[in-house]
Subunit: 331 residues, 2 copies
């Protein structure tokens, strides 16, 4: 039970740390299964088949790390990401189409190589309620230190109005990070109290949020974008974890012992209740849903990518990456 | 610039402090002008005229304190409330009808007298965009200490879709309190980004929120009701101020020097931009607005009053108070 749609609120944070605005939320890079620890490889059959010999843990020709390498994350952080991807793959294996992004969007870097990024997208097939799954990581060497942004998001299509899944880590020092973990709503919760009850009250999502809130090193994090604040659900985990200058061991512990179990539970809830839960929608509801999804997607793309990527990668690389994404976001 | 619609999130807090759930948000009691410091009396002409001789600073017959007495608040807290009420009266003097609640709803108490409450409501006249202004205070002697809830809220009618105003203080100890201060939205902000820009970005409301966030004794407060969380705007001040067991002087200072100027600025913004700002609405928008307002009002009444008042005042008194309020909330 651990999944949040791609709603990134990181500009504010990044501005503070790096004087850059970067909001790259919902991406997984190349095939999920381009890298995985041996014990988990068995879960990654579909994607591994799709990419066949064209990709591997580390491309022998280019030495470009794939999405699932997470080469700049700590072990607990990488393990969490791999477990979540594995869980999605296992659960949705029959529903996802092969990834189709161009190789220079699956992996990209700036001229100097100080910034690297990976994006992975897989659409759902025609029987699926999944619109697409998107994961990414970005690594950038900045004057103020290293920046790592890691995201995993899932968008559902108009067959259901169930929430999305969003997970985003923004780490600008070895001992602190921002975590967004949510099932963002796709209907106005004021007008639809039954939706609030079904997806947020009955699922006890707030108990999971409270578990992380209780950790002494966490405090609430409010995204600088007001639109992003509106897009987060009332049970969103939106926190900053700061373990102090000597807390690298502690932050690993927090991720392994606290964030990881909560994230996995939230993804389980999303898979069971949203990706597989049946919803009966009236024609008018579907029209409203499409309108709302399109607006959220456009804003997400604008706020997260169009404003952030150029600062880390330059305008040309940013344009190359954003253009093929627009068809997914229908922006 | 300081005004928030009646959205109360206090149950959680009250439960912690008093093991009771009380959510009485948006009320001012009897006539605004039943009491005011000499320097401000000149502002209270309208209400004073309305109530004429039937009410005074302290009713000579019954010794029942009126709404504007705020008999259990500290001086800075009382002064702030009086200034806000004065500002509303001065600005809307030609638009408000006389208060019409029965005397036993304007003031009420439980059998033992350990809980007292006042409610003041004034509707807007037919030329006004104000639906009604509602203020209240509740005082209760509980086993855990004294509880004081003070609210001031303003509801607009269907001539405008502009936000409401909400101010609510929940004080369960002499040195700590919860503050909600907001202009709650009346449209889905995801579907209406221009509304977000007009009322929340252009007004720089988040800067006011940040001013209070920076005070060392404050920390974010998340209402226990998920519905209430949804009803608050993305720039809502929702904080707990805790000055520690010896901080009674400091909490007065925080109210006087920090909360008061922010609250007054937010009310100014509301008056200028919402209560007086012209909005052109299509017929369909008005229908949607009425539907949304009705839902919010019903939920507000259920969450704040129907679940909270009986615990402090008993079911009979609660019924007597809630029944005449229903016509205002159209619940």
């Amino acid at each position: 039970m651990e999944y949040k749609p791609h709603i990134c609120t990181s500009e504010c944070e990044l501005t503070k740390y790096t004087q850059m605005v970067v909001l790259v939320p919902q991406f997984l890079q190349p095939p999920f299964s381009s890298y995985a620890p041996p014990s988990r490889r068995s879960n990654f059959k579909m994607v591994r088949t799709c990419i066949s010999s064209s990709s591997s843990s580390m491309d022998a020709q280019t030495k470009r790390p794939g999405f699932l390498e997470f080469p700049y994350l700590s072990t607990p952080h990488r393990n969490l990401m791999l477990e979540l991807v594995s869980k999605i793959e296992t659960s949705l294996v029959s529903q996802l189409l092969p990834p189709s992004l161009p190789p220079d969007v699956q992996y990209f870097q700036n001229e100097s190589g100080s910034s690297q990024g990976t994006i992975h997208i897989q659409s759902g097939n025609e029987d699926s309620m999944v619109d697409f799954i998107l994961g990414s990581w970005i690594h950038s060497k900045l004057p103020t230190g290293e920046l790592n942004i890691t995201t995993l998001t899932a968008y559902l299509n108009k067959k259901t109005d169930a929430p999305r899944f969003l997970l985003e880590f923004i780490q600008s020092s070895p001992t602190s990070l921002i975590l967004l973990l949510d099932l963002p709503h796709r209907k106005d919760l004021i007008l639809n109290p039954n939706y609030l009850t079904t997806f947020y009250m009955d699922t006890q999502l707030d108990h999971l949020r409270q578990q992380l809130e209780k950790i002494p090193e966490t405090r609430p994090y409010l995204p600088s974008s007001l639109y992003i604040r509106c897009a987060l659900s009332p049970t969103a985990v939106s926190i900053r974890i700061d373990c102090g200058p000597t807390g690298s061991g502690r932050i690993d512990e927090v991720i392994r012992d606290h964030v990881s179990p909560v994230a996995k539970q939230m993804l389980d809830i999303w898979l069971y209740k949203c990706a597989y839960g049946k919803r009966e929608l009236m024609e008018e509801e579907i029209i409203d849903l499409e309108k709302r999804d399109a607006l959220v997607n456009k804003k997400t793309l604008d706020i997260d990518l169009a404003s952030g990527l150029p600062r880390l990668f330059g305008q040309d690389v940013a344009n190359r990456v954003i253009e093929p994404l627009e068809k997914y976001f229908k922006a």
